[in-house]
Structure formats: structure tokens, C-alpha cells
Symmetry: C2
Subunit: 396 residues, 2 copies
């Protein structure tokens, strides 16, 4: 999909510049299903939720959707009653132009928090957007939802179901304010495979838990994170339910897709020069493994050391130590790109080899806590001056 | 004390260059009480503890101490059985030179984790260090314990007890790996006031909770954090117990002292250009207030925004939102240096005034969660390219 444009039967897309971003680049997008689709969603766990999320969380209990309107450049978060009205007006205008019920339209926003949404600009752009809908414009939508992203994030998977081949295609955005539990991150997925509401919901939740919820760029969770999937059944397959033999295959494909997208997000981490996979082994249980992996992945000292190509494993062990995860210092091992830096809690003196390995773009850190058999892994990136530059001057 | 040297009756001090730091600057220090003193200590909550802490935690149950040997340049952490032996050898050599029991000697280390302690260099330097002991050398000790600190941190308080005046004097170090629960932070306090073991212990714990445990530079907790206080009773006052009328005064003076030192540590935060006080009001309870204050103070996005003089309050509200603290968005207010940026959850449009205020070195952020009456405050600093520079190249 890097070079070619994927299409998903029954879905069309459009993007435009509505004038929300001062840069004049694309900032409004529309995803549309010809037929009513089954929809599932996962939203931020932040106690402060943006206006469009408040509407979506209410609406999604119907499990039905046909259109998603997305704007970048303004988060419509912390905008009070007015923000809710603006999200509602956007919904209604899109429904009117598409000739469908407002109950089937979802809106999503990303950008600066606390600014009034320029709703008139959006409403003015919607008729043109509807006219521009095309099955081959998914890439344009991927670009239009970008904020500080430096490249568009898109992926697709094909699944054989009997003699038919279904497609799952997704796009995502996010580069900062990224930490588990859905973070400044928007992800929209469409599939022509017919899937039951319960199966779609559980496959999405499981996929997100193993992908977007296991990446961290800066340990900051946003007010707008949203992942939505629409399944329109255009493939004509027998509906996939949680008991279908094909369900596992569908879920695995969706998990791979969200993992690919989450990896792209980390690769595009603000200012990042390296992608770091932190793997915890030998944990007492999975929650402990996750806790330790997150602590290492969020440690500013670990992230700056990797940036500086500095095999300072003391920072890794310190982070594992304060994570709260059970560990056995006498059995603790640390590997950096397969070189054992620490054995049974003590350094092996291989810092020089490790320093050389730190020149590669992909860094793998394995910590064996020596406390059990559970594992977990988390993706993150290094912390550089570039992150500071980008974030010291984002709204002004 | 900035200019003059404080002395505390019955205590003497010495510092030397033992060759642990490659720079050749002072890296070994000794604090000595003429008479056996009452001692209390607080140590890191990190599950990985440096060798000297393992010894100290065992020893301190005696509540007695006379000498503290401190080295910088090497943390003696993650050094296994050998590290423990080295800490023990240092203890024994110091005891021998001072002519006291090893049970009264504490050792403390700070610096890089995982390197073998150059124990011979330390043992060789100890006789000279003991000879150099002087009541007026506390400042030299404050310098000798520095690692990435840019200035020595020292403070003292005087207390009238009847017609006598007692002194509490303390020194501290720390600039990175700083987060609550005692972090890369060493603090040594001496007083000539006679204080009972129980009173000394509880006064220290309470002081640390309100000072060192309420600062954060980078959310990284070290393996070596230690705060020790020795009270030698040279003042000749009636021993202060928890029931003494003077106890509260003693505890308040100690709290002020540790607060002053903790503020100095934040002021010296690696790469920092600004000190930020985050105050949470209107929380459901104090733990919630602390949680929200810590989330805002640890947010890399808040810290970079302050650095960039960017009144991006959306990042503040997002951090409060993901802290897990109960909040009422409709009643939430945010003030920046007394300008109300958010009222009842919505921006007041005063970003321009706020941007000007962000030029000052001291920044005050108040968030009223609108959920109750509890408050808490946390000190932190901004996040700059300077932090990255320092930490990308610390061991190499």
C-alpha cells in the first residue's frame, strides 16, 4: 500500500482544505459507506473528553454507522456547550449533504485543545467534500488527518473467506501526546467483510490493547483519541461472529493492521531518530510485565541514552526497579540488540559492543526480571532535541 | 549561608579528591560527630537498591550513628556481592581511621550505576580525609557530593530552645533522575539539638514527604536516594520527644530546611530554565490532589510548553484529565501566574497576557479541579534541549 492506493468495496473517501489549518493544507476528511455498516469504537480513557467523543460514545451503542467526518487543526476539546453544539452541527450538515440520518454520522477532531471550532468553515466545505467522494481517495484522508505527523500512516490486510477475498484497510495519525489507553491518536478502519457487532467490537478492543495501548512516545494521553472501524458487508460473506471459525483469522488480521499502524506512529514520534522495542520477560504476571515495559519505555533517561548511543543500562535497571514490578536482582538479565549487558544483576562489561549496536535505527531492549514467566512488549522512540523544538512552539 | 559557612557544634567535615571522578574534582566526603548521635534515614523506594543502602537500611534500626562517608562519581549500584563487600570495606576502613565502631559508620554513593567501585582509591584517601576534618568544612562536602549539579545545595535553620539556640544544617545533591519517593537525591542533615530517635525519625519522614517527595524533574527514581539526619545533642537541651512542646517547632524548621533544599534541586534541574510550581486545588482528597499535581508536573508537553513560553493550557487540562483524579470539567479553572486561563472548563482567551508572564523564571500553575477542597503542590522545572544534551552523553 505504500505505493498503490487500496480500495475497499462499498467505501468512498474525500479530503479538502477547509481553512482550519493556517498552513492551507488538507484539514477536513470524510469516510462514507454506501450501505449502513456495523461500527465499533475505542475512545480515550482521559477524564477530559473532547466534544466529538462525548457524542460518539453515546451514539455508538447503536452499533450502526455510515459516515465519519474528521477535521485536523482543532481538537474541539475543552470548548464547553458550544463545542458540543459545533460537533452536532457538523453531524447534521454532513447527514443532510449525504442524505442519511444524523444518527449514522460520527465526527472526530484533532489539533489544538481549547480553541473554538471554526464550524462555519467546516459546514461550508462539506457539500464539496460529499461531491468529491471517491473509492480511491483513502490516501488523501490519511494526509488530511495529520497534525505534527511527518508522513501519512496507512495499512491494509487481505483475508480469504471461502472463495472471496476481503480487505481491512486503516489509517491513523499521531506523533506526540502518545501513551497507552488511546492517545492523540486517531485511527479509522474500514472493511467490506460482514462482521457481527459483538465480534467487531471484541476484535477491535483486543487489537487496540496489543497495539495502540502498547506504544508510548511521551507518556501524555490526549483528550481526543479514537479508533473506529466500520464493516459494511459488501463482500457478501456469511457474517463473521465470535463463534465463526474465521473470527480468529479476522481478529489476527485486524491486530496486525493496528500493530503496523502503531509502529508507524512510533516511527514518526516527534523528533525521534530511533524506534525502541522494550521486551520484558520473566515477569510474575502480564500486568507486572506491562508495568515494567512501560516504565522502561517512558523513562526519559533511557530514551535520551538511546539517542546518545550510550549503553547506560543502569537507567534501564533503575526504571525496571521503580516500576513496581516484582523482580529478582540476583536473576536479572538485560540484553541490548541480543548482547547481554547484565547477567544476574551485574554488568558484563560489553558496553563497547553495545554502543556500536546503538547506531542502528531499530533498538531492542530485553529485560528478564527473573521473577516468573510472563512477557510483554512496548514500542517507543528516543527523546531528542527535536521533540523539544516541536513541542516548545506548537500553538504559537 | 549562601556566603558564610555554618558550623554545627560537635560536627566536623572533610572532602577530598580520591580520583573516582575522571575530572579530578572532589569526590569523597566525610561527616563526623564527636559524640554518638541519634540517626534517622529515608531511602529510595526503588526495588533495585545500591549496595550502601542495603547496609544502611539494616544498620539504621540501631538509631545510632557517628560518621557518614559519601562518594560521588560511582553509585555502587547493581554491583552484586562485590559491591556489598566494597561498601563494607569502606565502612571498616573509615571506622578504623576514626577509632569508632563500624556499626556507627554509614556509607553513601552517587554516580553511574553498574561500575565497580574503586574501593582502593577510597581506602587510600580515608586517612587524609579523617586528618582534614574541620567544623567549618561543610561547604566542601556539599561540593564533593555533586554529580551533574551545577551548584552546591546547602541550607540551615536556627531554633531557640529556652535560652539556647540550636542549629539544623543540611546539604543535598541531585539534578536528574529526580522524582518523588527519594530520587538520585542525597541529603545529609546535622543538628546539635538533642532529639529522641522516634521524634527524629518522624520529623524526617514528614519533612521528606512534603519536600523531596513533592519534586520531580524527569519522573525517574534512582537506586541510591538517601536522606540521613544526625542529632548529637551538643546543644545540651532537654531531649526533644514527640510529646515535647518544642517538637512541632523542630519539625517545622526541618521541613523548611528540606523544602529549601528540594527547591534548590529543582532550580538546578538538568537543562532547566524555569522553576514551575504546580498547585492543585478543589480536589476530592489529598491523594487525588497529589496525583493530579504529579501528572501535570511530569507532563513533557506541559514542561516543553513552559520552556517555549507557550500558554498551551490544553496540555495542562489533558494531564489533569489523565491523572485519574476526580474532576468536574464544568467547574474546572486554570490560572497561570494568577491569570485565569480557563474558567468552568472553557478558555478565557487570555493567552497573550499569559505568554508574557511566561518570560519570568518562576512559573505558578494552579488547577482547580472543582471536585472538592483538598490541595497539593509539586515543584518541577521546564524541559529543554539542555536536558537532552546532558543525558544523551552522561556515561560515555
Amino acid at each position: 500500500m505504500e505505493q498503490t492506493t487500496v480500495t475497499v468495496p462499498g467505501f468512498s473517501f474525500a479530503a479538502a482544505s477547509a481553512g482550519i489549518k493556517r498552513s492551507g493544507s488538507r484539514d477536513l476528511a470524510l469516510i462514507f459507506s454506501e450501505k449502513p455498516a456495523v461500527i465499533a469504537g475505542v475512545f480515550t480513557t482521559n477524564n477530559i473528553k473532547a466534544a466529538p467523543l462525548k457524542l460518539a460514545i453515546e451514539k455508538i451503542s447503536s452499533r450502526k454507522g455510515r459516515a465519519i467526518v474528521i477535521n485536523s487543526g482543532n481538537a474541539n476539546a475543552c470548548t464547553g456547550e458550544q463545542g458540543l453544539r459545533h460537533a452536532q452541527e457538523t453531524t447534521e450538515k454532513a447527514a443532510e449533504e449525504l442524505g442519511i440520518s444524523p444518527g449514522l454520522v460520527y465526527v472526530s477532531s484533532t489539533g489544538v485543545i481549547g480553541r473554538t471550532l471554526p464550524v462555519e468553515k467546516i459546514k461550508n466545505a462539506l457539500p464539496g467534500l460529499v461531491k468529491a467522494l471517491s473509492p480511491s481517495s483513502m490516501d488523501e484522508v490519511a494526509s488530511a488527518i495529520m497534525t505534527t505527523d511527518t508522513f501519512a500512516k496507512k495499512a491494509f490486510k487481505k483475508i480469504k473467506i471461502g472463495n472471496r477475498t476481503g480487505t481491512i484497510a486503516g489509517i491513523a495519525k499521531g506523533a506526540g501526546m502518545i501513551c497507552p489507553n488511546m492517545a492523540t491518536l486517531l485511527c479509522f478502519i474500514v472493511t467490506d467483510i460482514a462482521v457481527s457487532p459483538a465480534a467487531l467490537d471484541s476484535a477491535l478492543r483486543e487489537s487496540v490493547n496489543r497495539s495502540f495501548n502498547r506504544i508510548t512516545i511521551d507518556n501524555d494521553r490526549s483528550t481526543n483519541d479514537t479508533a473506529l472501524i466500520m464493516a459494511n458487508g459488501a463482500l457478501g460473506n456469511k457474517t463473521v461472529t465470535k463463534n465463526s471459525p474465521i473470527y480468529r483469522q479476522f481478529k489476527n488480521a485486524l491486530s496486525e493492521l493496528t500493530y503496523d499502524l502503531s509502529r508507524m506512529i512510533v516511527n514518526d514520534g516527534e523528533g525521534a531518530t530511533k524506534i525502541i522495542e522494550v521486551v520484558i520477560r520473566g515477569a510474575k504476571d502480564e500486568p507486572d510485565a506491562e508495568k515494567a515495559a512501560m516504565a522502561v519505555a517512558n523513562s526519559m533517561l533511557v530514551k535520551t541514552a538511546v539517542y546518545g548511543k550510550d549503553p547506560n543500562w543502569g537507567r534501564i535497571i533503575a526504571a525496571a526497579g521503580y516500576s513496581g514490578a516484582k523482580l529478582n536482582e540476583q536473576l536479572l538479565d538485560i540484553y541490548l540488540n541480543n548482547v547481554r549487558l547484565v547477567h544476574k544483576g551485574v554488568g558484563t562489561g560489553k558496553e563497547e559492543i553495545a554502543a556500536k549496536l546503538l547506531s542502528s535505527r531499530e533498538i531492542n531492549i530485553i529485560v528478564d526480571l527473573g521473577a516468573g514467566k510472563a512477557t510483554a512488549s512496548v514500542l517507543t522512540c528516543d527523546l531528542t532535541e527535536g521533540y523539544i523544538h516541536i513541542n516548545a512552539h506548537y500553538t504559537t
